[in-house]
């Protein structure tokens, strides 16, 4: 078989890096680094988008790349850094499951998501179908991260990386969603971040920390 065009190789490389990043986030315990990793993820996303845009020459992809750049590379990480500084939550406590165990589960999740992607990419005629599996993997991995985290902040970061995974999946499978939807999604993410900001401060002033074990009083088990 003839080798893939360079652009596609580049894209696959991005995909691989994304996967790597999400593993890193899974293991990372320093909140600042988490945010940085998120920013890197965002920039990889931008690159991937640009590649696809250049290959397919769809104008609206450039716009969405711009949007991503603004939102996920600059706005959100800055906001998060600000919050970290203001609420000085630099470290996450010991995760629910120890990192090695998490890694193992993560591995299984990756296998599962590749298996999941098979039937879909089988019908995909887009040139970049192989990346869909990675998108799903990123989504599920960040889900896993959310489960294992104990600090509100790191949970939120994981949540955002899940958004990234979704975005990447959308782009790799279908060259991105229609414009109106992308705008809406972006708006929602932004608002969500703002709400989160408010939240953090409220939680802070109530419990003067962002540990999630403060938030375990409403339950049925007694």
């Amino acid at each position: 078989m003839h080798p893939l065009p360079f652009s596609l190789q580049l894209l696959n490389a991005c995909a691989a890096l994304l996967l790597l990043l999400s593993f890193a986030m899974l293991s990372q315990r320093r909140t600042v680094n988490l945010v940085n990793l998120l920013a890197v993820q965002g920039s990889l996303l931008v690159i991937a988008t640009l590649i696809v845009a250049w290959r397919t020459g769809q104008p609206h992809l450039y716009v969405s790349a711009l949007l991503t750049l603004a939102l996920k590379v600059f706005a959100l990480p800055m906001l998060l850094h600000r919050l970290i500084r203001r609420l000085n939550v630099w470290w996450d406590t010991e995760p629910v499951i120890n990192p090695s165990g998490t890694m193992l589960i993560g591995l299984l999740v990756v296998v599962f998501s590749f298996g999941l992607a098979q039937p879909i990419s089988a019908v995909a005629d887009t040139a970049i179908r192989s990346t869909l599996g990675i998108a799903i993997a990123v989504i599920l991995l960040s889900f896993l991260a959310m489960i294992t985290r104990r600090k509100a902040m790191s949970q939120v970061v994981a949540f955002l990386s899940m958004e990234n995974g979704l975005f990447f999946g959308a782009m790799s499978a279908t060259y991105g969603m229609p414009m109106v939807v992308e705008l809406g999604v972006a708006l929602d993410v932004l608002v969500a971040m703002l709400v989160l900001g408010v939240f953090f401060f409220q939680i802070r002033e109530q419990f003067d920390s962002l540990d999630l074990y403060h938030l375990e009083s409403l339950k049925e088990r007694d």
């Binding site: 899940m162 969603m177 229609p178 969500a192 709400v195 408010v198 939680i203 403060h214 409403l218």
Partner: protein
Amino acid sequence: MELILLLGAPVIGALVLALRGDRSYGPEVNAGFSAVTFASACALAVRVVSYGPLLLYDEQFVIDAFNVFLVALTAFVGLTTALFSRPYMRVEVANGKLGPGRLRLYHSMYQLFTATMLLALTTNNLGLLWVAMEAATLSTVLLVTLYRTPASLEAGWKYFILCGVGIAQALFGTMLLYFAAEHALGSAGVTALLWTHLAAVKGQLEPTVVALAFVFLLVGYGTKVGLAPLHNWLPDAHAEGPTPISAVLSGLLLNVAIYAIVRCKILVEGSLGSALPSQMMMGFGLASMLLAAFFLWRQRDIKRLFAYSSIEHMGIVTFAFGMGGPIANFAALLHMTVHSLTKSAIFYAVGHAAQKSGSQLIENIRGLVTISPTIGWGLMLGSLAILGMPPFGVFASEFLVLTTAMKQQPWATPFLLLALGVAFAAIFGKVQPMVFGETTARRLPHPPALLPVFVHLGLVLVLGLWIPPYLAAWYHDAARLIGGP
């Protein structure tokens, strides 16, 4: 035209109230905007009933039998809740639970919430549907945490995270649908997310992809419906927010989420042609009913009690939609209507009851009939209605669901019987001492607004004895639209 008014009124209302919501006339303004919304909804309904389904604004909006009655219902309950929240919020302010700022927030977010629900109901674009659902979550999160108590913050956080994650799954599902649609329609771009187009080509959608998509959509929107085991945010959020919000969350938001699921189910079933979606929905429905019934058994907080009862009833609706077929769908639609009317009425009564006895704990609420018969009877009749006692409308739908299940899914009937029986024992056993017996309640600074309670209960009563023909026609059309095995 009506549509613009329908969606515009609440948005403008949100802006206005964000600035002036804390004035003495704020609640009235709030109610006023809701009234406008309701009026336009009625106009829209009339138009659809007379001219049939509408596609508006280059097909971005669809109004058909299925969603128009939900729109009307949403607007109506929105209005009555606004009326109810007038005295309720005044009392809260008088009790010093709220400041002007939060009152502004409350009123504007209330309107915004209405707007997002109406958007979610009317839009034809699955992407926009998703956006609207997410927006609905966001607009209510801050309302759940309105009191800033630790419990309310916790509830808000769980609500935010769980629903956020769930909704993310739904987005992925939407994306997969889009992906499948592109292959079916061959055309990229906006039209591939328009429900009408998808419905047109649902036969050709790639089954495996669609099946996967449905799983993501079901888990995603199912989280917002509160299907067990995705329901964990629901009792907290419903119990900790202000009662009017509990009323609309229980009465309306759940309906909207169900609506989203059913819209997707129509497509998926069309493409799969298998009973897979039905089985999943029936499974979720039964699980929710049973779990909720047993959770009901050990509730101490009156609002949590009725929150769980909402889960149970959503389970019934999901089960009914899962069974499919004209009668089950009809029953499910009817059940959505009567449930939202009854449940909101109950929450109105509960709100005042809790204010009167200064506590949400069931053991602190006693003998309501003796101090204020209206609240007492409202709560009693409401609970009996929600428990499926004739001649209230809830019974009508449960009648159809049970009889249908007995013939189509006999294996499920023991579970239904168990769930309904346990739920009855649990709820009634807790409500009776609250209503009867020696009293502990006290007077309120503002006279409670119980008109909404009895208006709702009256409507439910009427629906139990006589369903007006045009309403029945709606239901039938919608049921036909939803189809099923």
